[in-house]
Symmetry: C2
Subunit: 88 residues, 2 copies
């Protein structure tokens, strides 16, 4: 993934339910996979948000928007990774 602006960071936010929280979607996927004879276990379903942020403060901005808006800190946890640095 490339960004048009050299001062932009390509960032991935991964949001998953915390371990203790019932993941109904994960259970449904696990049941479906087992029906299809896949030996899958501990399935958790979450969401991923890829976006460009100003490189100057991408970590701070990403953490803030996850906490305030994109994730529910009561029941969800999030990971922040930079995609364009990993690729180097």
């Amino acid at each position: 993934m490339t960004t048009a602006n050299a001062t932009a960071a390509r960032v991935r936010l991964t949001i998953l339910l915390k371990d203790g929280v019932l993941d109904a979607q994960g259970q449904a996927v696990e049941r479906a996979l087992r029906t299809m004879d896949y030996d899958a276990a501990h399935v958790r379903v979450g969401r991923v948000i890829d976006l460009d942020l100003p490189a100057a403060n991408w970590q701070e901005a990403a953490r803030e928007m996850c906490t305030r808006f994109l994730a529910n800190p009561l029941i969800e946890e999030f990971e922040i990774t930079r995609l364009d640095e990993e690729a180097r």
Copy 2:
């Protein structure tokens, strides 16, 4: 993330719409972030599925279940990563 069984691989499947495909959810998140004064661009929203698979053939099983069941190959692309090896 640890797995109970030493022969299990902890695998992450990341499923995103292909680049050319309209991502309405991504557009909605981008608009909302801009309303909140975040300088976010090229926002794409997808889903992530973490699961345990038998370590012997985790890559093959993951690719197969993505193609057949979890992703729509017409409009989506997927990434397969092993979480417990990355952590080493």
